[in-house]
C-alpha cells in the first residue's frame, strides 16, 4: 500500500508548506495512546510499522518534516532488529549494559518527555482560565496579533490518522471503478470546500471526501484542507480523543 502512495503524482500548482513543530516523540506518544499499549512495554514491531506508515504519509503530503523523524525511524529499526535476536546472541555495545532491554533508552526518553508534555497541557488549561480574568491595563497593553495560534484544536497526527482512514477507503473503492484521467488542483479544491460551506458553518471531516473518486483526489482535498486551516479560514475540532473530526468555518 505504501509503495502505491509513493508512485502517486499530485499535480500541485500550489505547494502546501506546513511546518510541523511536533517531533518524533510526539508521534510515538500519539501511537502509544492510540494503540492503548503500555509505555513501559512497547510492542516495538507494531509501533515501528505504524510509525513508518505515518512518516510515509507525512512525506507524501509534503509536510515539512524534521530530520529527527528519520533518525527516530532508524533507531526504531535498530531496536526492532536487536529484539529479534535471542538474548545470548545480542551484541552489547559499549554504552548499554549487558542484558539491558534495547528499548530502555527510548522508553526513558518518552517517559520524561511525557511529563513535560503533561505540564504543558496543564499550562494550557491555566492559560484558558486566565483568559477570563482581566486587570487594569489589559486594554492598554494591547492584544498582540498572535502568530502562534494553534493550527488546529486537534494535533497534526489526529488529522493524518483521519486522512489515512479516508485514503484506505478510497483505494478500496478505486478497484471497482473505471479511472478517468482527471486532474485536481489544490486551489480548485479550496474553492470547492469553501463553496460547500457557503451556507453552513460546519461539516464532518469524512464528508469532505465523500465524492472523491481516487487517491489523488483524496490527497489534494486534504492538502486543500490543511491550507485553509493555515490561512485561518477553517478550523478543526475533535470532541473526544480519536473521535470524529469536525471542520468549522472561522467567523
Amino acid at each position: 500500500m505504501i509503495g502505491k502512495v509513493e508512485t502517486l503524482t499530485v499535480e500541485s500548482d500550489y505547494k502546501v508548506k506546513l511546518a510541523v513543530f511536533e517531533g518524533p516523540l510526539d508521534l510515538l506518544l500519539y501511537l502509544i495512546k492510540k494503540e492503548e499499549v503500555d509505555i513501559y512495554d512497547i510492542p516495538i514491531e507494531r509501533i515501528t510499522n505504524q510509525y513508518m506508515e505515518y512518516l510515509t504519509l507525512m512525506q507524501l503530503l509534503n509536510l515539512e518534516v524534521a530530520g529527527e523523524f528519520l533518525v527516530m525511524a532508524a533507531t526504531l529499526m535498530y531496536i526492532k532488529s536487536r529484539m529479534l535476536l535471542p538474548v545470548d546472541q545480542q551484541v552489547t555495545d559499549t554504552e548499554t549494559e549487558e542484558g539491558e532491554d534495547p528499548r530502555w533508552e527510548l522508553i526513558r526518553q518518552l517517559v520524561e518527555y511525557k511529563k513535560f508534555k503533561d505540564a504543558g497541557l496543564q499550562l494550557g488549561r491555566r492559560e484558558e482560565q486566565q483568559a477570563n480574568i482581566f486587570s487594569r491595563g489589559s486594554a492598554a497593553s494591547g492584544i498582540e496579533v498572535d502568530k502562534d495560534v494553534p493550527l488546529a484544536e486537534v494535533s497534526i497526527f489526529d488529522l493524518i490518522n483521519a486522512f489515512n482512514d479516508v485514503l484506505k477507503k478510497a483505494s478500496a473503492r478505486e478497484d471497482f471503478r473505471e479511472i478517468m484521467e482527471e486532474k485536481f488542483t489544490v486551489s480548485d479544491k479550496i474553492e470547492e470546500i469553501l463553496y460547500t460551506l457557503r451556507d453552513r458553518s460546519e461539516m464532518i471531516f469524512s464528508e469532505l471526501f465523500a465524492t472523491a473518486s481516487s487517491r489523488a483526489e483524496v490527497v489534494v482535498t486534504f492538502l486543500a484542507l490543511l491550507e485553509l486551516i493555515r490561512l485561518k479560514r477553517l478550523k478543526v475540532l475533535q470532541v473526544e480523543a480519536f473521535g470524529e473530526i469536525r471542520v468549522l468555518k472561522v467567523a
Binding site: 511546518a19 513543530f21 511536533e22 517531533g23 518524533p24 516523540l25 510526539d26 524534521a66 529527527e68 527516530m72 526518553q109 520524561e112 518527555y113 511529563k115 513535560f116 508534555k117 503533561d118 505540564a119 504543558g120 497541557l121 496543564q122 499550562l123 494550557g124 491555566r126 492559560e127 484558558e128 482560565q129 486566565q130 483568559a131 477570563n132 480574568i133 482581566f134 486587570s135 487594569r136 491595563g137 489589559s138 486594554a139 492598554a140 497593553s141 492584544i143 498582540e144 498572535d146 502568530k147 502562534d148 495560534v149 494553534p150 493550527l151 494535533s155
Partner: protein
C-alpha cells in the same frame, strides 16, 4: 474619613497596572510625602512588610466575602486586582478582545521545559523534545515569555533561556513553584545536573592529562 493602611493599599492596587509586591508597597509608604499636609503620611512611614501582607490578606478576604466583581490575587511575585471570570463575556466585549490568543501545544510544552529547567540551552530543550526548537523559541522570545539569561560554559558557549515576569502573569502563576509538577520535574533537574557535572569533571581531568605541553602553554597564555 480616617485612612487605614488597608484603604491606602487598596488605592495602590486599584491604580496599578502591574502586580505590586509587598516590598514595593513598603517603599512607597517610606517615601510618600504630602506637601500640604505633611503629617498625613507620617503614621505610615515605618510600616512593616508583615503588616502590609496582613492587610493584603484582609483585603482578599473582603473581596470574597462581599462578593465584589473583582478579586485580589497573588501573581508573579505580587498582588493584583482582577475581574471575576463570571464577568468575562462583558469585559471581553469592552476590551474588544474577539479571540483568545492561546499558545500551541508545542509552545506550551517548550515553555514548561524552560520554566522548570532554567537556565537551559536550545540543545538541551531539543534533547528533551526530540526535535529542534528554533521556531518555537523565536515565537516565545517575540512574545516576551522567555528571555536570554546568560551563556553556558559548554563548548560553543550557547545562550541560556529562562522565563520572564510576563510568563508568570500570562498564566496567573505566583512563581515557578506554582507550576504543575514543579517539585517533581525540578528535583530531577537538580539530580541530573550533579550527575552531568561529575561526568564533566571526569572529562576535564582526562583532557588535562592528555594535553600536550604546547596546548597547555597556549591555555596559560589565554588566562
Amino acid at each position: 474619613m480616617t485612612l487605614e493602611l488597608k484603604k491606602i493599599i487598596e488605592a495602590l492596587l486599584f491604580s496599578a497596572e502591574r502586580p505590586l509586591a509587598p516590598k514595593e508597597i513598603r517603599t512607597i509608604f517610606a517615601e510618600a510625602t504630602d506637601e500640604e499636609n505633611p503629617g498625613a503620611t507620617e503614621p505610615f512611614r515605618n510600616v512593616r512588610e508583615a503588616q502590609i501582607v496582613a492587610a493584603l490578606d484582609e483585603l482578599k478576604a473582603e473581596c470574597e466575602l462581599q462578593q465584589h466583581s473583582y478579586q485580589l490575587v497573588e501573581i508573579a511575585g505580587g498582588w493584583r486586582l482582577v475581574t471575576r471570570s463570571e464577568c468575562a463575556p462583558w469585559v471581553k466585549k469592552l476590551l474588544d478582545e474577539a479571540r483568545p490568543h492561546r499558545l500551541s501545544p508545542p509552545s506550551l510544552e517548550t515553555l514548561a521545559i524552560i520554566a522548570l529547567r532554567q537556565p537551559i540551552s536550545r540543545a538541551d530543550i531539543a534533547a528533551i523534545r526530540g526535535v529542534e526548537v528554533d521556531g518555537v523559541i523565536k515565537t516565545l522570545l517575540e512574545r516576551d515569555l522567555i528571555t536570554i539569561v546568560g551563556k553556558s560554559d559548554a563548548p560553543g558557549r550557547p545562550m541560556l533561556y529562562g522565563t520572564t515576569q510576563k510568563f508568570l502573569e500570562h498564566f496567573g502563576l505566583r512563581d515557578i513553584d506554582d507550576m504543575p509538577k514543579a517539585a517533581e520535574l525540578r528535583l530531577q533537574a537538580a539530580a541530573l545536573k550533579t550527575a552531568e557535572q561529575k561526568a564533566e569533571e571526569a572529562k576535564a581531568k582526562e583532557a588535562a592529562a592528555n594535553t600536550t605541553p604546547e596546548a597547555s602553554e597556549a591555555n596559560e597564555g589565554q588566562t
